[in-house]
């Protein structure tokens, strides 16, 4: 009896004590713990997709950094109505201290770093749980994650950091935005601009190496992916960071850095994209007929974000019936200005970027009807290309290459013009550019950027990179006062240096 009792208690004890470690690893049903999330290929894929979805936030590329706020900051549209509540007015006039502007200043920063936090946690687990992934999934997912991290940091640095850094030697000593690679509550130390750019480059180079296995490179036969891609996760590569998009992004980074060494690296990368992106079938040029259906020129996207219900999100901003006083969000361009941008009276009359990507609206500016961009507004609701916001398009490769040619120590004007003429011809401009000075080629490049990237969040960064002192709608001299967004107050309070 006694031994029986003792043995019973021993058993009970043993049951209670044994494997208590596993027993404690539980999660409530409404929660997925990180360890469980990164326990399967699907988990990693979901986390990656989650990063792209986070990028489609209204504060990021879902609105502010693509077709709205940042375009207003580049003076792309008629000035907004003042003294109204809750629109982008204050930020569009660079009144960065106002609460409505702070909404964006804090919002873009925190949403941007939130994407980075998601990336960093996935990156942590992708190496911890490498054994759960095959090589293709591991390489491509990790490559994309690295690219997103670099991309977000790069854009945050372009917004909250100084521009035209190659021309400004004083910048080198300053610290840039923190380059965060670890998820945690501790603040990441700020590094100098050079160091920060090197980290961006490093991530992108790593991404490029990992993405060699990307189906778009066609380094492997299609059958190589058939099993891994059974659910189509690696279809539609232009909706996520693919090999060529990352290459061109790296070229963009080198351009921002701007030193002559960087220029030659950028040229190399741009040329690689020019040589392969089209020939390997990733992109194809739009035509004047295709653009009627595909206003956003989806076929040219090296990278675009899939944004659900984009049309309903843009509806308040782009419209035909504009009532000046009450349309506090309306984004449109005056007729005179648009005609001059597209040089309609000279070479641009056949430029379908003017004729098919804009439409006259009811607003009267200077006695004429103004124009509304059609890129998002005009996409037929049935079109497959609706709901996409481009982040990188193929013309940029040509413009980067062209700029590199003219900025080489020995400018190669002809190569630059060839590239520009190639794109102009694709857009329906018959007249060829000829015999221009390097400086004039540069001017033409800026003009082409303007024509090409309406509503794509490109111009603000171009002006800033080139240190252009006059920008539309702004009477003063454009400098750091408008080009550099202040850090959020909380960051400053915690000791960040800008």
């Amino acid at each position: 009896m006694k031994t029986f009792k003792i043995s019973i208690s021993v058993i009970v004890f043993a049951i209670l004590i044994s494997s208590c470690k596993d027993w404690l690893d539980v999660t409530p049903p409404s929660q997925i713990r990180e360890e469980d999330q990164f326990n399967s290929v699907e988990g990693f894929q979901q986390a990656l997709i989650g990063c792209y979805i986070a990028m489609t936030d209204e504060m990021l590329y879902g609105r502010a950094l693509s077709w709205s706020t940042i375009e207003l900051m580049a003076g792309q549209f008629e000035p907004l109505q003042p003294s109204t509540y809750g629109n982008d007015y204050n930020i569009s006039i660079y009144n960065y201290k106002s609460t409505t502007a702070i909404k964006y200043i804090d919002g873009i920063w925190s949403k941007g770093y939130n994407v980075i936090a998601n990336v960093n946690n996935a990156l942590k687990y992708i190496d911890l749980n490498k054994k759960m992934l095959d090589n293709v999934n591991y390489s491509i997912i990790k490559g994309e994650l690295l690219a997103i991290r670099a991309f977000m940091h790069f854009d945050l640095m372009r917004l909250y950091g100084y521009g035209n850094i190659v021309a400004r030697t004083d910048i080198a000593a300053k610290v840039a935005i923190p380059y965060v690679t670890v998820l945690g509550k501790d603040m990441t130390q700020q590094l100098s601009y050079a160091q920060t750019i090197n980290l961006i480059i490093k991530d992108l180079e790593d991404a490029i190496e990992l993405l060699e296995i990307d189906p778009v490179t066609q380094n492997q036969p299609a059958s190589f992916y058939s099993e891994i891609n059974i659910d189509g996760f690696y279809n539609n590569r232009q909706h996520r960071f693919n090999y060529y998009a990352v290459n061109l992004l790296l070229a963009r980074v080198y351009m921002w850095e701007g030193s002559s060494a960087s220029i030659s690296k950028a040229l190399q990368l741009a040329n690689l994209v020019i040589a392969n992106a089209e020939s390997r079938g990733l992109v194809s040029w739009a035509t004047s007929t295709s653009v009627s259906e595909d206003v956003i020129m989806k076929s040219e996207h090296l990278l675009s974000l899939n944004i659900q219900n984009l049309i309903s999100k843009t509806a308040d901003y782009f419209k035909l019936e504009i009532v000046d006083a009450s349309d506090i969000k309306a984004q449109y361009v005056s007729s005179d200005r648009l005609l001059s941008i597209y040089e309609v009276t000279s070479v641009g009359s056949t430029d379908y970027r003017f004729s098919k990507q804009f439409i006259q609206n009811s607003a009267i500016v200077g006695g004429k009807n103004a124009y509304t961009p059609l890129k998002y507004f005009g996409v037929a609701s049935t079109a497959v290309t609706k709901n996409y916001v481009p982040l990188i398009r193929i013309p940029e490769a040509y413009y980067i290459a062209a700029e590199c040619y003219v900025r080489q120590s020995v400018p190669d004007v002809q190569s630059a013009l060839d590239l520009l003429n190639f794109v102009r011809q694709k857009r329906g401009i018959v007249a060829q550019l000829e015999g221009l000075s390097a400086e004039n080629v540069m001017n033409e490049i800026v003009k082409e950027y303007k024509k090409e990237f309406y509503c794509e969040g490109v111009m603000f960064f171009l002006y800033k990179r080139l240190g252009i002192k006059t920008i539309p709608n702004y009477n003063g001299e454009a400098g750091d006062n408008i080009y550099v967004l202040p850090y959020p107050d909380t960051e400053i309070q915690m000791g960040r240096e800008q």
Partner: protein, 1120 residues
């Protein structure tokens, strides 16, 4: 020589013994006179001769007499006793007289020789008791009983004729030895003497050996101060439990009380982070103590809803030595509740019924009447449109209309409209089934309906419980099963605040027909809140709670006892909130004018939740008494799993009022989706506790408990808790032993660390969530929903305690404690650099100190038998100080200052600053209202004056925590008639008079205001006003002019000294004479009054959404 003296002593003792034994018959022996002439006869002949002459009969065994030599006795008219004495003097025999029997017994040996006494110790149910210490008083010798309760002890010499028996939970017992060799000793349980045992919920401890600070409250004490529920009674008993005033919910029977023991040590939890407010009691609230019911963790709701008659006693464990048994959960103190033990010797049926009356207490309201209100409006310019003639004419018309009605006598007293005198009833039947030897039980059934003072608000509990115990050999099984069905209804009349704000010149009923009006003022479309109550508005919640606790107790060996406990509880809860289409919420013009919105009128919110707990523990204890050493060791292991989930659905669009079912909804509420929360927590822990005492004088307690919870990150999963306690029973020292003054004089000191884990989810690890309404090219995305903090530690509280227990025989009982505790690793939302990707993280920060003292005294002024007069009183004080704060808290404060800078903010903000208390009231120092312009004059930090409110000038204007609080009272009983009354007091604290500032300055002039607006507000230059003029402001870019609110200013910090007449009770215990005739065992009639009167130095509106109430109750208890 020495031997001789001993001898003599012994003989004397024997004689005394015999005399006392013969007791009442000694007279007979003395009276019987005898004449004998016997020579050389056997002693049996002598017996026969005596039996002839007297009525006495001899009883003896032949063996006792057969070897005796013959005797010779010649006496003339001598008393029987002297004759017997003479005969037995030379023999080895003696005698005892019982009735008319003279029993011959063996005379005890006069030699100094050892003898062996054996016996068995049993309880009153004849169950053998093992591990009982058997001692010989005056020696260091002792043994313990084996598992069959048997013992064998060697008595060294004749000198020792008593043996003592001691066991925890049993009354000490001493018996006098006679010449028997075998004794059956029955020990009684000491549970009736509450003060002797400290019930910790895990192991019972003898109070005398306990070094912790704990107060034990008997059911008698609980019933003395109230009959509503355990918590309500505790309010009037122990000041160390501080019930936080619920100014918003007042005396709402459905509001759960919040309490804390020995100060605040956690930051308020941030419920808003989940964005979901759930109905029903799921997660725990920081700062709340841990509730243990019959050894199992419980919730405050369960305690509130349990029938008070079931409670045997409540023990509050306060210091580390007492609460370290609960390790990582005990930081906020532990309240151990034990239900009635089975007495098991009688069958009894007890009925207790009571009728409870609640009456609203509106003394704190000071609202304007119709005339005053209209005048205030006129002064404030409600009817003045100097620039707009058309509007002015409209306003004039409105003013005149209202004025006319007032002249006609309209002055609606809205406050009384939703109120009533709530009459509730309670019935309880308790059946004790227990005269079987091994199976005993109590069955209990209660119906309790508490009617609140708001019309139709009530809480109804129906509960039943069965408590069974069965003993098989030396295994005791016990099972307590409880089921509670609760239904609570919030008043369909809405919140009390809706009535407080109604203008008295509005109408509730039609003056002619008396019917309820849809609109209180038809011309302004002001809905009548009373109308909502008539159209089927519903706001109810209910739950069904089932608990089963199972205990097995057995003795593994002589010294080792094992207790296995397993408990399961499950709760299903639900809540319904239905607002019909006609509800005033949908009476705004937008609902009426918009066809689309019109279809959406009517809403239904349905909550569903369930929770379950399974827990088990095994404790093995070892008790040993060796000479003067007493050792007690207990080791235990615990495991538990608790989970809950709750879901909320909201639907809209209800065609008519009768359709009070969610299935009649037109659709889910626009933009809503099913919401829910769930939690799953597993925990495992190991406990070791040891107690050593030397001669009951010097006491040592040590406890160590280590727990792991699935809530915490792998890095910090295990949390230890420990304590060491020392005690000195001074009254046991020889220098006090002989003095009869002190029954108890004990010094206690303890130190230890315990933890707190009242946090909802796992903040330590990252958790992922899905973008449920979003896909990317058809693929689902997941995102990190919180910033993980793997270094998150358990909150730890280190307590030091110094205490003294004094008990002066029959006069005074005093218990005083001084404590000093440090809580570190407080868990709070800490702002982090947004570059981390998140704005807040749950992190440990800072150190908070709580120190104070508690003194409880009870003086027995007069006692004669059952009749007595007692006075009692207590004082408690706690001082809270923030000792250290991490850097990140500064960012939190900055955010708070930002909130304070908002001109529409009307409340003090919470700031945490080193050296300041957590309950500090942060305000800007004010000099009052400038008589010239009506603006408030503030004092800047540098002492200069300004009109501008700057959050940087915030200073500590007061402390919400009272400096002292306590209670005092009196209880008395005379011939079954008893009286008891208790007062509570608090003093030395401050309060920000939020209701005053909201009712006189931050007013919405369209609704009723405090009367003081009329006289106290600044109106004209030169006026010395208490209350400032109002201003407006605009947010940047916002065209709307908004009313500027009075932000936290020292003007509204007021001293709070309060005296509450908490309870008064009169009871009558019917005398046995009357009851015997009715074949009733016991009958008691009581009348209670609670919260009778509040006298406060601060005049503030209490009970904003639900008024406070005074309650009275009469109760009758009959036992058959």
């Amino acid at each position: 020589m020495n031997n001789f003296i001993k001898h003599g002593h012994l003989r004397l003792l024997l004689v005394v013994c015999c005399l006392s034994l013969s007791g009442g018959l000694s007279g007979a022996i003395q009276q019987e006179r005898i004449t004998l002439d016997l020579r050389d006869v056997p002693i049996t002949q002598f017996f026969k001769e005596i039996e002839k002459q007297t009525p006495f009969r001899f009883f003896y065994k032949n063996s006792q007499v057969e070897n005796l030599s013959n005797i010779t006795i010649v006496v003339q008219d001598k008393t029987l006793s002297s004759v017997l004495e003479q005969v037995f003097e030379q023999s080895n025999l003696n005698y005892e007289i019982t009735g008319n029997q003279i029993v011959i017994i063996q005379k005890e040996s006069n030699q100094n020789k050892e003898r062996v006494i054996t016996g068995v110790v049993v309880d009153k149910n004849s169950m053998p008791l093992a591990g009982v210490a058997v001692v010989i008083p005056g020696t260091t010798k002792g043994v313990t009983t084996d598992e069959n309760g048997k013992f064998s002890i060697v008595i060294p010499t004749e000198k020792y004729n008593r043996i003592g028996f001691r066991m925890i939970g049993m009354k000490d017992l001493e018996i006098t030895l006679d010449n028997r060799k075998f004794y059956e000793v029955i020990m009684e349980e000491s549970s009736l003497q509450l003060s002797d045992v400290i019930v910790t919920g895990i192991v019972d401890r003898k109070a005398e050996n306990f070094t912790g600070s704990a107060s034990t409250i008997s059911s008698k004490d609980l019933v003395r101060v109230g009959n509503r529920n355990v918590l309500e009674s505790l309010k009037n008993i122990d000041p160390s439990i501080y019930f936080i005033d619920n100014f918003s919910q007042g005396s709402n029977p459905n509001a759960l009380p919040q309490m804390q023991i020995r100060g605040t040590s956690s930051f308020p939890s941030d419920q808003s982070s989940t964005g979901i407010t759930l109905k029903g009691n799921y997660g725990n609230i920081p700062n709340m103590p841990l509730f243990i019911l019959d050894g199992f963790e419980s919730t405050v709701e369960r305690i509130m809803d349990m029938d008070m008659n079931r409670v045997e006693r409540v023990t509050i464990l306060k210091d580390a030595s007492a609460k370290a048994l609960y390790g990582s959960k005990a930081a906020n103190g532990v309240i151990v509740i034990e239900t009635k033990k089975l007495l098991g010797d009688q069958q009894r049926v007890t009925y207790t019924g009571s009728m409870d009356i609640s009456m609203p207490d509106l003394t704190s309201y000071n609202l304007a009447n119709a005339e005053e209100k209209l005048e205030i409006e006129r002064i404030e310019g409600v009817y003045s449109y100097p620039d707009n003639l058309e509007e002015q004419l409209k306003a004039n018309k409105l003013y005149n209309e209202r004025k006319k009605l007032i002249k006609e006598g309209l002055d609606t007293y809205w406050l009384s409209k939703p109120l009533r005198v709530g009459v509730g009833t309670k019935h309880n039947i308790n059946i004790e089934l227990g005269d079987s030897k091994s199976l005993k039980g109590i069955a209990d059934f209660t119906y309790n309906k508490i009617n609140g003072v708001m019309k139709d608000s009530y809480r109804r509990n129906i509960s039943g419980s069965v408590n069974l115990s069965y003993r098989y050999k030396n295994i005791l099984f016990r099972n307590i099963m409880t089921a509670v069905s609760n239904f609570s209804q919030e008043s369909p009349w809405g919140t009390f605040g809706d009535y407080v704000k109604m203008n008295p010149y509005w109408r509730s009923n039609d003056p002619e027909t008396g019917l309820l009006l849809r609109w209180a003022e038809p011309s302004t479309f002001t809905p009548n809140p009373m109308y909502d109550a008539t159209i089927g508005t519903l706001n109810t919640s209910s739950y069904l709670d089932f608990t089963d606790n199972f205990y097995v107790e057995t003795r593994l060996s002589k010294y080792i006892k094992a207790i296995l406990r397993m408990g399961v509880s499950a709760k299903r809860s639900g809540a319904d909130e239905f607002l019909p289409a006609n509800h005033s919420k949908f009476s705004t013009s937008s609902y009426i004018n918009n066809e689309e919105l019109k279809m959406k009128r009517g809403s239904y919110r349905l909550d569903n939740g369930k929770s379950s707990d399974v827990s088990g523990d095994l404790n093995v204890s070892y008790t040993r008494n060796l000479d003067k050493h007493f050792v007690f060791v207990n080791i235990g292991t615990f495991a538990s799993e608790s989970s809950y989930s709750a879901y909320v659905n909201v639907a809209e669009g209800f065609p008519n009022n009768q359709a009070a079912d969610i299935t009649f909804a037109r659709q889910y509420a626009e933009g809503s989706k099913p919401l829910g929360l769930s939690s799953l927590n597993r925990e495992i822990s190991f406990l070791g506790t040891a107690n050593y005492s030397y001669d009951n004088k010097y006491l040592l307690d040590a406890t160590y408990r280590i727990s792991a919870s699935s809530l915490y990150g792998k890095d910090n999963r295990w949390a230890p808790g420990w304590s060491i306690g020392l005690g000195w029973n001074i009254h046991r020292e020889s220098f006090l032993k002989d003095s009869n003054i002190f029954e108890q004089l004990k010094l206690r000191a303890s130190v230890g660390v315990t933890g707190n884990q009242n946090f909802n989810t796992s903040y330590a690890v990252g958790t992922y969530n899905y973008f449920t309404d979003y896909n990317y090219d058809g693929f689902t995305g997941a995102f990190l929903s919180n910033l993980p903090n793997s270094g998150l530690k358990w909150e730890q509280k280190k307590d030091y305690n110094l205490g003294i227990d004094v008990s002066v025989k029959g006069i005074l009982q005093l218990k005083a404690d001084y404590y000093d505790s440090y809580t570190k690793n407080l868990v709070a939302d800490v702002s982090v650099s947004p570059s981390t990707g998140f704005s807040i993280v749950k992190d440990n920060l800072g150190l908070v100190r709580n120190r104070g003292y508690e003194i409880n005294a009870n003086v027995n002024i007069w006692q004669r038998g059952q009749n007595f007069v007692n006075v009692y009183g207590s004082v408690a004080s706690n001082k809270n100080t923030i000792k250290e704060l991490s850097e990140s808290m500064k960012a939190y404060n900055a955010l708070q200052e930002k909130a304070a800078a908002d001109r529409a903010n009307n409340k003090p903000v919470l700031k945490y600053v080193d050296g300041m208390p957590m309950q500090a009231i942060w305000v800007v120092q004010s000099l009052g209202i400038d008589p010239m312009n009506g603006y408030e004059v503030y004092v800047k930090r540098d002492g200069s004056r300004t009109y501008i409110y700057d959050p940087l000038d915030l200073v500590v204007g007061g402390n919400q925590e009272p400096k002292v609080r306590g209670h005092f009272g009196l209880s008395a009983e005379y011939k079954g008639l008893g009286f008891s009354t208790t007062f509570r007091y608090l003093a030395g604290g401050q309060l920000y008079n939020q209701t005053l500032v909201d009712r006189v300055e931050n007013i919405d002039i369209n609704y009723n205001v405090d009367r003081r607006v009329l006289l106290g507000r600044w109106q004209t230059p030169g006026q010395n006003a208490l209350f400032k003029r109002l201003g407006t402001f605009q947010y940047e870019g916002d065209p709307l002019a908004r009313q500027e609110k009075t932000r936290a200013t020292s003007r509204f910090v007021q001293d709070r000294n309060e005296l509450t007449w908490g309870s008064a009770t009169i009871y009558y215990e019917f005398p046995k004479k009357i009851l015997d005739r009715l074949s009733i065992q016991r009958m008691r009639f009581s009348v209670y009054m609670n919260d009778i009167l509040v006298i406060s130095s601060i005049k503030t509106e209490r009970g904003l959404n639900y008024p406070f109430a005074r309650t009275a109750s009469c109760s009758l208890s009959i036992t058959f």
